[in-house]
Amino acid sequence: MPSEDTDLDGVGGSDALYAWWLDLIPALFGASGAKARDPKAQTEGNDGSRSPPGVAHVPQALEMTRQLITPLYQGFLQALLANPQPERAFGTLLEQTLSHLRSASRSLADMATTMPSQQGALPIGWNFLADPVSAFGEAMKPLSLNLERAYGGLADAFGLAPSRELQLAGREMLQCAFAKRQAQAEYLGLAVGALAKGAEGTLARLREMGQRGESVDSLLALVRLWARSTDEAVHAAMQTPEALEASAKLLRVAMRSRKQQQRMVAIASEALNVPTRAEVDAAYREIQDLKRELRRIRKSGGPRVREPAATGSAAPVAAKRPRTRTPAAKRKNSSKVAA
């Protein structure tokens, strides 16, 4: 599963989740030790040369393939040596894999349900730092309020308000982090369940092939078979209402978390007199509004605003009045175009 700092907010989160998918391949066949890397990361080729932009990830994908597939060969070889009948060796491997996946799916589901109780317990330290009196319970609330009024005002007077705001925002960030991990566990539990179904589908496919008198005589062919079955299983699973809801929940907490990050940055920016995101956005909005107004004036026949000169030899042709032509007679047929 993604590391704790996995963030699904944007690029980093996307890459981390993708890397997690890649890591599952060797795990499915009981192999270990291969750590997938992001195939889209920029890299140098094996000979040290740099690939042209846009395809630099492909040599790295090859290296990743080597890292992923080699342990599969090794694992299967060990299984074959232990049990010379290939179908039994593979069956044993797959059974082990299924067992791992089912267990992982259960663990993730358990994790998702138990997290809310942990969520209340763990931030106590933070709560105490931010609001020490609250730790003594409801009875002390009036005191807490009075302290906040007296010393909070003092802190404001000394310009310490941003630090108090940051503390509050940080506490909310922490809550978001818990919610996010819970949502991730829920989502990944469903994904792992789908992978287990994919493995079951591989067995079913193999049995069907046996009935048809077909056979598989290479490991890569087996991997492809697994990929087809798993692809179908994952598609089916991800379209269920549960998976869609889990995905939506993940998005919600990721956005909440990002909002809190932005809030913290805004607090710091204001304290340092740096334009905040909201201020920059307000400027962008105004620019866009002005552009719209300019276009409206231009299109309504106002003073012509010249566009920047076109490049190369293709200077814009001097504006000509469009010739008015009689439109072709309207066709009155509906047809299928012959390919």
Partner: protein
């Protein structure tokens, strides 16, 4: 491998798994696998920029505003069609996909059919473009491009061809400015965004389902928080439509094509296009998700751009609607069977084999698509 190879001696052992791998054969395969990877790495390292270039059909930039460019492709016949065609691609990818390689370029095939082709390049919108709306694209940039071409050619109307999201923009344009459009060609374009509801298929229309699983508030929060969706995030959403396939693409499938230079180059050209994923303006995303995916306002005639309602019955010019049989990004149920949706009496449909992208780069589809469009246009010009 011999997945399809009948293996009579084992055929009777129906209940067991038909795996015929021995330790010796496995070691041999591993050796071959490693040799192939080594050869492939060397082949990749030896490729030149020239071999990897995409979108090479000769063209010139004739107009630009902000990050938007208008290109005119150099005609390849002495007398190209009198009425030019403006091709509009989606915002979620770059226009280069339809001119990916010289021998599988939709653009080159249109040119070879004698068409005079223009193309809008939406560029790479960033944070500063987050407040651009669909109306800015349709009534702003696209209308400017159309006016430029009309003026340049001295025509009242031009032909328009829209692709996917660009098809939606073009449809809106044709409804808002019907007097400027002579013929409308839509390709893999969603019009009825809820068309898939009664035709759910595994592996198809994931984006429709996902978008509908969100609330309006979710979409607002997403747009307000992100501003503009980064290109990598847009790419990730496509990747998650086919997560396992996108893993095997970089592993087993890549290994399979390493010794075939033509196939390897096809793969690399596509990768290059995929890597150049533009960001998506937030306000377009907001309207796209809420008004279209969630509320299906376009086909209901409720979509409002600027202060005008997009009425599809105002599309009275001839319409050719092209959809892909195997499209899982835009389910065919969202893009086909639109007779009566538009105001035209001249509505035609064309089904092409392949998927969403395969429509423009697939061998079978390429044989059909450009010639059929050109024929249809010539009959109406």
């Amino acid at each position: 491998m011999s997945e399809k190879t009948p293996s009579t001696p084992q055929g009777k052992t129906a209940a067991t798994l038909p795996i015929r791998i021995t330790p010796e054969s496995l070691l041999r395969e591993l050796q071959q696998f490693n040799d192939k990877l080594t050869r492939g790495s060397k082949r990749l390292a030896a490729l030149s920029e020239e071999q990897l270039a995409i979108a090479t059909a000769p063209k010139e930039e004739v107009w630009r505003e902000d990050m938007v460019r208008l290109y005119h492709y150099q005609p390849v016949v002495d007398k190209p069609a009198r009425v030019p065609i403006l091709v509009t691609y989606a915002l979620v990818g770059r226009y280069q996909m339809i001119d990916l390689e010289a021998d599988r370029s939709f653009i080159r095939k249109l040119l070879a059919e004698g068409l005079d082709v223009y193309m809008v390049d939406w560029g790479l919108p960033g944070r500063a473009q987050r407040f651009l709306t669909i109306d800015d694209y349709v009534s702003g940039y696209l209308d400017d491009c159309v006016d430029y071409i009309r003026e340049r050619h001295g025509l009242k109307q031009i032909n328009m061809l829209g692709i996917c999201q660009g098809g939606v923009f073009t449809t809106c344009y044709a409804a808002l400015f019907p007097d400027k459009v002579k013929n409308l060609v839509l390709t893999v374009t969603p019009i009825d965004f809820h068309g898939d509801k009664d035709h759910l298929e595994a592996g198809s229309g994931y984006m429709n389902l996902w978008a509908r699983s969100l609330t309006h508030e979710d979409v607002d929060t997403m747009v307000d928080t992100l501003g503009a969706a980064p290109g990598a995030m847009v790419g990730f959403s496509f990747l998650m439509m086919n997560p396992v396939g996108n893993v095997t693409k970089y592993t087993t499938e890549l290994v399979e094509i390493l010794d075939d230079e033509a196939k390897l180059l096809n793969f690399l050209h596509m990768e290059r296009w995929i890597a150049d994923r533009p960001g998506h303006p937030g306000e377009v995303m907001r309207q796209w998700f809420k008004d279209l995916y969630q509320d299906n306002k376009l086909v209901r005639g409720e979509l409002v751009l600027g202060d005008r309602r997009v009425q599809l019955d105002r599309i009275t010019m001839p319409v050719l609607n092209v959809f892909a049989d195997g499209d899982v990004i835009i389910p065919t149920s969202c893009s086909r069977g639109l007779e009566g949706t538009f105001g035209t009496d001249d509505y035609s449909e064309l089904a092409v084999p392949g998927g969403h992208i395969g429509t423009f780069v697939g061998g079978k589809a390429q044989k059909i698509l450009a010639p059929s469009i050109a024929k249809w246009l010539k009959e109406r010009n």
